[in-house]
Subunit: 398 residues, 2 copies
């Protein structure tokens, strides 16, 4: 059983598999740069993503290898010396680490917004922290730890009064493909996505939307296939940010997986996952040794701890006894845990997809019910406390 | 017919195709970070590449999305303010553009080594240009324009007397998979490779070897799957340079394609391509309107111009009349053309693989012979001169 969809979705749709197999049987080679007719699918994929996010210009959909690259390209390419950034406790290390690095390299200042015990932030907290030198707000749309979705439309609306002076970056890594994202209502300047999670594409492909009025310093520069005579990186987007041979099979996978998602409809995916998480959480919440951090959510995530048991042991039991893949630990999001629990080893995360069956959920719930009864036996085995949990209070710039 | 293997190789070996198909049919998902047994293939691929390049530590083989990312990571991460770099006229834009950018951002100085009319440089020219502040030598092992291979062992040996003070970066994008690269003889500190050319892997995977004694500032930072509690990027290599979800299918393709290359043997691949380029060049050199820039070479490249005809028109004719894919223009390597010809539109490049048949070569040669006879009719159509060719003489730092 596969309950690690928040890391990488599995299985991929049949149309994606077939497209990749067909790819090998056609004389394509370097098609993306030589043959207009064949290269078309890359532009068409940009169009599909632009429609999915409801942004106007497909040329402003840039491909990267993953969200991490997208976020580094935006954060490193946009922030200037002494800028102030507001972000949240729910961010992934792909936001935290670039910011911590720029704090040293470019003396940027960072304000961290706290969240509640399910991972929800208050949009008004962001507004309260705005300063004269605030240039960027970064918000993780959906938490990869609890499944909590933030109200980014409200944040976007609140930011309107600054007339574009403060840019808005939304990390949609966990939400794209799970729920509708309509940027005409959000007004984000950047939307960073990855292909291998709910968008159901292959690993190693991601990208971002960039407001056409913004110019970033590209993270990397080099061959662009055209305009080879220029010694500096071309200005035209997306070329400007897409040096080198891309993961064309990854793009091909998105070309097909987005059609698949549209045919299912995001509404249906969202309601299905809300139903599944609700059922799952309802059952777990009856277990006296369980502490649950997730509320009903459209990301399919259920996170918890079992009192006195190191979370990775639960994942180990699930793998050994049920052949079930889950993910335990800090989930590359070290700060949110500070607001959920006191366990330095993080928590257990089970993450479902549209394809997860009710039978599978019942099997896990039944197993966890038995585990709940046997906690007294298990909890005698304890690990030493090896490190302290990270805290945003220690990195806040006043 | 496919004559654009120097851009992206085609076809991929059957074992690669089958491995990708199998990938879809196994419950793998995010296997690379959760399950030691399954993730093993990534480490094993590092081992295979380490053996192929004859370097000691597989952990010092880092995966990236392509050579461009490898070269940017090394060049941007290594060079410091005021450093002097020596490089060559044969470099790709993935070296030229990062250097031109750092010239502005970090005031680095660059010396460019000229090449002869086939793309060959003199190692002694590099030595003559070494200054007190020279920290890096960058050499393109094999030219993607002419197929010329440089004597990097000689350069490496000459650099030994500097006792590691000057680092040596070799771009093996065109040579890895075509000829033996033995770093125990070269002593390079960095070897930048891509997977989608002669290594016969998928597009969107590449990497580099890094001397274990060197620490780079990572190009991007973020989630590393483990050590999530650290707010700064972990020091351990390869983790340090591999944030975010990787192109695991790309790595899988290399796992199998390298076995395939080893079973063929690189000696056989090299001798076959030398034979094919020799035959091809011998036939073309009899044509009075042809100017050929390639000598017999193991990269399978034959580049030329036809007097009075814009090179892209030749590629267009070949595509239309023979359904043959070739590549015309500057090939993302703007400087080398200055030493080959005076054509601002670059040249025509036909690039073969081990799988290119003699029949295919004969068909092209026959076609080009007829074209040679009809040049008088074709050459009347002329394009305006739209830009000047780039020249290293204009960017040389004295």
């Amino acid at each position: 059983m596969y309950f690690d969809n928040a890391a990488t979705s599995y299985p991929k749709p049949q149309v994606v598999k077939q497209a990749v197999i067909d790819f090998f049987n056609e004389e394509n080679g370097s098609f993306q740069r030589t043959d207009t007719e064949n290269s078309d699918f890359i532009f068409k994929t940009r169009e599909k993503i632009a429609r999915l996010l409801n942004v106007e210009s497909p040329s402003n959909i840039v491909f990267t290898s993953n969200s991490t690259e997208s976020l580094n390209m935006i954060i490193q390419g946009f922030l200037k010396k002494g800028n102030h950034v507001i972000t949240t406790a729910t961010e992934h290390n792909s936001v935290i680490r670039p910011l911590i690095r720029l704090r040293k390299e470019k003396m940027i200042k960072i304000s961290w917004i706290e969240c509640n015990r399910n991972g929800l932030i208050k949009p008004s907290d962001i507004m309260k922290n705005i300063r004269d030198n605030t240039t960027l707000i970064i918000v993780n749309h959906g938490s990869n730890v609890t499944g909590q979705v933030q109200d980014i439309e409200q944040i976007g609306n609140m930011l309107k009064k600054y007339g574009g002076k403060i840019k808005f970056l939304v990390d949609i890594s966990q939400t794209a493909g799970h729920i509708k994202i309509d940027n005409s209502k959000i007004g984000a300047d950047f939307l960073a996505f990855t292909g291998h999670k709910a968008l159901l594409g292959l690993p190693g492909i991601g990208g971002f939307y960039i407001n056409p009025e913004i110019d970033l310093t590209p993270l990397k520069v080099g061959g662009t296939g055209v305009l080879s005579e220029l010694l500096e990186q071309p200005k035209a987007v997306p070329l400007r940010y897409e040096s080198g041979t891309m993961n064309t099979i990854g793009i091909l996978s998105l070309y097909h997986s987005i059609d698949y998602l549209n045919s299912l409809t995001l509404d249906k995916i969202e309601s299905q996952l809300k139903q599944k998480t609700k059922y799952f959480i309802d059952r777990l919440s009856k277990l006296d040794n369980f502490e649950i951090y997730s509320l009903e959510n459209p990301l399919g995530i259920v996170s918890f701890n079992v009192k006195g048991i190191v979370p990775s042991r639960i994942s180990h039991f699930l793998l050994k006894d049920l052949n079930l893949k889950s993910r335990s630990g800090l989930h590359c999001a070290p700060f949110i845990h500070e607001f959920l629990h006191k366990n330095p080893f993080g928590c257990v995360r089970l993450s479902m997809s549209y394809d997860t069956t009710n039978d599978e959920i019942d099997t896990v719930c039944n197993y966890l019910e038995r585990l709940n009864e046997n906690v007294a036996v298990i909890q005698n085995i304890k690990l030493p406390k090896i490190y302290e949990m990270p805290s945003i209070r220690k990195v806040e710039d006043r």
